[in-house]
Structure formats: C-alpha cells, structure tokens
C-alpha cells in the first residue's frame, strides 16, 4: 500500500481523538481520547520511518509510548485522588480556576 493511505488513517484517528477530547465530559474518557491521538502520531511516525527506510522513526515511536504510559499513570492518579475527595468526576463541574 502506498504510504499515503497510512497517513490518511493516522490523520483520521487523530481527528477523532481531538473531537473526543472536546466533546466528552468524563476525564477518564478524555484521557482515552488523548491516547488515541498519541497512537495516531505513532502510526504516522512508523509510516514515515518505512518511507525513508530509516529506523529512527520507530525509536521515536517507542519513546512516545513510554511518555504516554507515564502520562496515563499520572492522569489516573489524579482521577483516583479526585475520587477519594468525593469530587464529581466531571470536567464541567471542576472549574474553580477561573478569572
């Protein structure tokens, strides 16, 4: 398959993830959509790595995975802490940081 197809799929997934981040109210799902976007970026990286014949893109994708894992860890830790304090798990309700 042409590399362009993979890039199109990657763009579509990224867009879906972005739409999800803007639309959903539960922070858990927002994090999941963030994961979607990261994965789309990974796909693009791998595609370009295949395109150039250079494995640097794959290394980059591995590092991105590591970062995504860390970010998920911290994000879920925050959600757990929120739950402990009996706060509503809803980004629309948590808006005290406003001007």
């Amino acid at each position: 398959m042409d590399i362009g197809w993979y890039l199109a799929v990657s763009a579509l997934i990224f867009t879906i993830g972005a739409a999800g981040v803007l639309t959903r109210r539960s922070p858990l799902v927002i994090l999941l959509c963030l994961e979607l976007m990261l994965n789309a970026a990974n796909l693009a990286l791998i595609a370009f790595s295949r395109m150039h014949g250079n494995a640097d893109g794959q290394i980059f994708a591995i590092i991105v995975m590591v970062v995504a894992a860390c970010e998920v860890t911290i994000g879920l830790g925050i959600i757990v802490a929120m739950h402990r304090r009996r706060l509503p798990i809803d980004v629309d309700e948590l808006r005290e940081l406003q001007g």
Binding site: A18, T23, L94, L97, G99
Partner: protein, 670 residues
C-alpha cells in the same frame, strides 16, 4: 599677592568654620562658650581682613584687582563657572565693614541672648550669615554672586524666624524670603541678559567687554540692569519690595542690627557699585534707580514719624538711608555712597544695640507709647543712642554729617534734573532728624515709667507672664521663644564694649573723608572705579560750603522740631495728629503698601492655588489622567479575563483552534 589671597580665603572661611564648629560642639561648651566661639571666629575673620587690606595696599595701584580661583568647575556649554573671588579695594572695603561690625555685634549678642534656649543655634546661624555675606561681596563672577545672594536670603530667613514658635516671626520670615526670592529671580535674569552679549560670567571680563558688546542704550542692557536693580531693591528693601523689612524686626535685636542695618540691606548698594560699568552704559536704568532711591528716602521718612514700635522706627530709617545710598551710587558718587554705607553701619548698629538695651529693660516690650524717662536709669544707653542719633541726623562732627553731605554734594554736582534729588535729600535729612529724636525723646525724656523707676532703684524689671510684644499672646520661654532673662548694657561688659566701640567709630569715622580735606576713602577705592567716567569729580567749593551748612541746618532743625513737640509741649503731638488724621493714618498704615501687595499679588496667587487644587488637580489629574488610565487598564483586563472560564474543554477547544489556524498558515505559506 598670595598672602592677599590667603588672607581673603581665611576671612571668608573662618565664619563658615565657626558656624559648623558652633553647631557641632556648641552644646557641650559651658555657659556662654558658644558665644565666645562664634565671636572668636569673627575676630579671626576680621584680623584676616585687616591683613588683606595691608597686603592689598602693598601692591601697586594698577595691580589692585586680583582674582583668586579655587575651582574651575567646567567650561561646559560656554559657561565658565568658577569658584573665584575678586579682591580689589571695593571688596576689601566691604569685608572690613562686614567682618568688623559683625564681630562687634557678636560680642554684643554674647550677653544679650544669654538664657535663650536657642543660644547655640543663634551663633551658628549668625556665623553662617556672615560667611554668606562675605561670599557675596568677595564674589568674582556672577555665579558666586548668585550663590552668596541666595545664601544670604536663606540665612536672613532663618534668623528672622529665630523664635520660631511665634506666629508673627515665622510669617515675617516667610514674607522676607518670598520677596528675596523675587529679587533672586531678577538677579538671575539680569545676569542672563548680560551674559547673552558678553559671553562670560567673570566680573573683570564682563566689564572689559561691556563697552564693545553692547550698543549704547541697548534694550538688552537696560533690561538686564533693571532686573539687577530688582534684585538689589528686594535685598535693600526699596519701594516696592520693602514690605518685608519692618516685619523683619520680629527677629532678635542683634539680628536686626547685623542684617538689617549694616550688612544684608547694603548688598544692593554693593551690587550697584560693583556693576557700575554696566550701569554707566545704561543711563536710563541708573536714573530709575536714583528715582526709586529718592522715593524710598522720603516715604520711609514719613512713615517713621508715625510709627510707635521702637525697632520699626529704626528699620524705616534704615530704609531711608539706603535710599540715600542708592541715590548716591546711581548718580555716580560711588565713594560717597560706600562711605555712607560704612558710617551708616556704625551708627545704625549702635542704634539697634541701644534699642535692644531699652527693650531688655522693658522686659521685651517694644512700644514707644509705653516707654519714657529712662535717661536717669540708663545713662550709658542714653549716651550711645544720642551719639547714634546725632550721627544719623547728620550733625557735625559726627560721621553721618560728612558722609551724607558728600553724597548730596555729588548729586547736586551732576546737575540737570538731579537738583530735584538734591532738594529731596535735604528734606529727607530734616525728616531724619525729626523721627530720630522723636524716638530718643519719647524713650528717654518725660516721666519715668514703672520699669525705669525700678531700674533706678537697681532692680531690673522682669515680666512674670511673657507675651508677644506685637499681639499680646501669651508665650513661654522654652526653645523657640525668647529666654526669660533680659540683659541691659549697663550691666553687661560685653555689651558695653561693643556699643562703646561703635560709638567711638560713629564719632570719628567721618574724619576719613572730610570733603576736600582728607580723601582716604576716595583714594582707597579708586582702583576699583578706574573705568568709571563719573568717579573723579571735584565739585566746586561754593556748592560744598552751601551744602555743609544746609545739611547741618536741616539736621538741627529736625532736632529742634522734635524737641519742641515732644519735650516742651507734650500734648502738641496729639493735637497735630488729630488735626491731620488722614495723613497720619496714611503714615501709620505704611502708605498702604501691604494692602496693595495683598490685593495685587497675594490674593490672585491664593485664588490660583486653590483653583489649581480644586479644579485642575482634582478633576483633571486625579480624575482623567489617573482614573482614566486605571479605568482603561481595568476594563481591558476584565475583558481579557472573560477568556478564563475554568472549563477544561474550552481550553482544549482553543488549543485545537490554534493548531488549525497555525497549520493553515503554514500550508498556505508553503
């Protein structure tokens, strides 16, 4: 030449050192130590002045104009601002007079102000004043002159409001200072006008270039000279800038003696004498000065007749005599005017000192109406006052006679419309005799008042309740007010010594310049006035004899009138006053100058100040400028703040939007 410069610097700096030293350690000295310290500084200064005189005379006549430069600040922007002193006969003459008379007045004050809480402060201020006056007369360029001028004004303010808790004193100090500042402005502007053409601030340079830089009768020069005159008039209390001088009598008597008789008020005379090359090139300015001098002479004389405050009478006589001096230096009689300055310093200081003695005997009371019959109780004071009064009235052989007649002689010699000034001068001499001896007769003759009787019995009257002599308010004797004790000349040796010396000088000082006989002053001052066209004039013998006789006659006539009115017929003055009530009211109210100035200057200024505060400051500055800018900032920030909603999704949406826009831009740009 170097010893001359050294002596001059010592003369100048000794009082400054005295002021600083007195200020720092005066409190730790026991008793009158601060007083002795201050006087010692002045004695050093006077000795150095004599040394300067000797070394000046040691130079050849052509070389007697020496400039001593301490620092050359910078020749930036074409302005040569140096700290330079000009040492020539005129300035040496002035420093001799200033330091000598100041030394005697310091001597007098050692005992006069004893028991005042501000004793140390007084001597520090007084030394500082002498330093500034010396700086003024020793100045070698306009720059230092202006500095000295300003310092003298400041020192005068500090000394007039010396008893600073008295409302009248502080008001008088402010009045003096404000009018002096007006004079400062005139001086500085005048300097600018002259500098514009001549291009240098140095005196000798200016005078050398004066003839070539100005066209005859040029407007700039006339304007500059008139502005210099404004400065001189403010300092010397000539009409219309004279209203501060009578109020300045709120200061202690030694202050009045020093500042307002012998030194500061003569600064104007000195200025005009120093600037004579410029004034000779601008005759219209010179004429203005002469007219105003004459006017002051007469007006002050008339006011003095009606005053009841002892010190104010003497103040008006000062004003009047300075008018005569200014008339003299305007008309070109430089040596005569300066000679009169010297003799006037002697006898006026003497008069003030005697007045201080009487006021002390009256426990602070200055009103002539309440005095009388002190002749038997205070013989020494009476003698001194008589000598001073005779000198002032111009009775031979006292010094005032010779000096005043020299002036009038040279004025008459000028001819032309100067005859009017000549006549006015003699009328002034008559008035002088009248008011001087009115003062003396009222204070010393007649029935002894209670204080005099007590003094005859040997008991100096002491007031239990201290009051402000002018307004009658009750005061205490703590710092800021006069001390509880008063000291009279008969009991204090230092006062006697000072007054005696001045009396002696007032008597024999005239012999220095007997017209046609001795020409000490003339010859001494000649090198300073080398370039003057009017200096070396020899009036005719006939006019001389006529003038001498007329002068003595006017003086004696004045004394006789005073004797007749106040001693022979005690009720006559009352009747005359009632008959000429409007005239008397005019004189008592000082020709309404204060009211005029109040209406013309003070009220508009006050209105303007309140307008500026109410309207301009409150509405415009606070409201529009300050409030406006803060309002704009506040509105802007609250508009921007609306973007901070707190919704996570809004922020994410903004991020995405930004990303879309950026990507679009880059795509298009590529």
């Amino acid at each position: 030449m170097t010893s001359l410069k050294l002596f001059a610097w010592v003369t100048l700096l000794a009082p400054l050192a005295g002021a600083i030293l007195t200020g720092l350690v005066g409190r730790r000295l026991p008793g009158r130590g601060a007083g002795y310290l201050g006087t010692a500084a002045l004695a050093v200064s006077f000795a150095a002045a004599i040394g300067a005189l000797v070394s000046l005379q040691g130079l050849a006549a052509q070389q007697r104009q020496v400039v001593s430069v301490a620092w050359d600040y910078a020749n930036t922007v074409g302005v040569d601002a140096q700290l330079s002193l000009l040492l020539d006969p005129l300035s040496i003459f002035m420093i001799l007079v200033v330091s000598g008379v100041s030394m005697l007045i310091h001597l007098y004050s050692i005992s006069y102000l004893d028991s005042d809480e501000g004793y140390v402060r007084f001597f520090a201020y007084l030394n500082y004043f002498v330093f500034s006056m010396l700086l003024l007369v020793l100045a070698g360029n306009f720059f230092v002159l202006i500095i000295g001028w300003a310092f003298v004004g400041a020192a005068s303010y500090m000394l007039i409001s010396f008893w600073y808790r008295r409302g009248t004193a502080t008001g008088a100090g402010i009045k003096a200072f404000v009018i002096n500042v007006l004079g400062d402005v005139g001086l500085v502007l005048g300097t600018f006008f002259i500098f514009k053409h001549v291009g240098t601030l140095d005196f000798l340079g200016t005078f050398a270039k004066a003839k070539t830089s100005f066209d005859p009768g040029s407007a700039d020069l006339t304007a500059g000279c008139i502005l210099l005159l404004v400065g001189a008039f403010a300092k010397s209390a000539q009409i219309p800038l004279h209203t501060w001088l009578p109020d300045a009598m709120e200061g202690p008597t030694p202050v009045s003696a020093l500042i307002h008789a012998a030194t500061m008020v003569t600064a104007g005379v000195y200025l005009i004498a120093r600037m004579h090359p410029l004034f000779e090139l601008a005759p219209s300015a010179a004429d203005v000065g002469a007219v105003i001098g004459c006017l002051t002479l007469l007006v002050a004389g008339t006011i003095a007749i009606a005053q009841t405050d002892l010190k104010r009478v003497i103040a008006y006589s000062t004003m009047s005599q300075i008018g005569a001096m200014i008339m003299a230096v305007r008309a070109g009689a430089y040596a005569a005017g300066l000679f009169h300055l010297m003799t006037h310093a002697f006898f006026k200081a003497l008069l003030f000192m005697s007045a201080g003695s009487i006021i002390a005997a009256m426990a602070g009371q200055q009103d002539l109406d309440k005095m009388g019959g002190f002749k038997r109780a205070m013989p020494f004071t009476f003698g001194c006052m008589c000598i001073g009064g005779l000198a002032l009235a111009g009775i031979p052989p006292f010094s005032g006679f010779f000096s005043k007649d020299e002036i009038l002689l040279l004025i008459g010699d000028r001819g032309g419309w100067y005859w009017i000034l000549y006549a006015a001068g003699y009328v002034g001499a008559f008035l002088t005799g009248v008011y001087t001896f009115r003062m003396i007769f009222r204070a010393f003759y007649g029935e002894p008042v209670r204080e005099a009787r007590e003094l005859e019995e040997g008991h100096l009257h002491h007031a239990e309740i201290h009051t402000n002599p002018g307004t009658g308010e009750i005061e205490d004797t703590d710092v800021g007010f006069p001390g509880p004790d008063h000291h009279i000349a008969e009991r204090e040796p230092s006062m006697k010594l000072a007054m005696g010396t001045l009396a002696l000088l007032a008597t024999v000082g005239g012999f220095l310049q007997i017209p046609k006989v001795t020409h000490v002053i003339d010859h001494f001052l000649a090198p300073s006035f080398r370039d003057s066209a009017l200096y070396a004039r020899e009036p005719g013998n006939g006019l001389l004899a006529f003038g001498l006789v007329l002068g003595a006659a006017c003086g004696l006539a004045g004394i006789a009138v005073a004797y007749y009115v106040w001693v022979k017929n005690p009720g006559l003055s009352e009747r005359v006053r009632l008959r000429l009530a409007p005239l008397h009211r005019l004189f008592v109210n000082k020709w309404y100058f204060d009211e005029l100035i109040d209406m013309v200057v003070v009220r508009p200024s006050r209105w303007f100040g309140s307008f500026a505060q109410q309207t301009f400051e409150r509405v415009f500055v606070n409201g529009v400028l300050v409030g406006g800018t803060t309002g704009v900032v506040r509105a802007g920030s609250s508009a921007v703040r609306a973007a901070q909603t707190g919704f996570l999704r809004y922020y994410a949406a903004l991020v995405v939007l930004g990303m879309v826009v950026m990507a679009f831009y880059f795509l298009v740009a590529a």
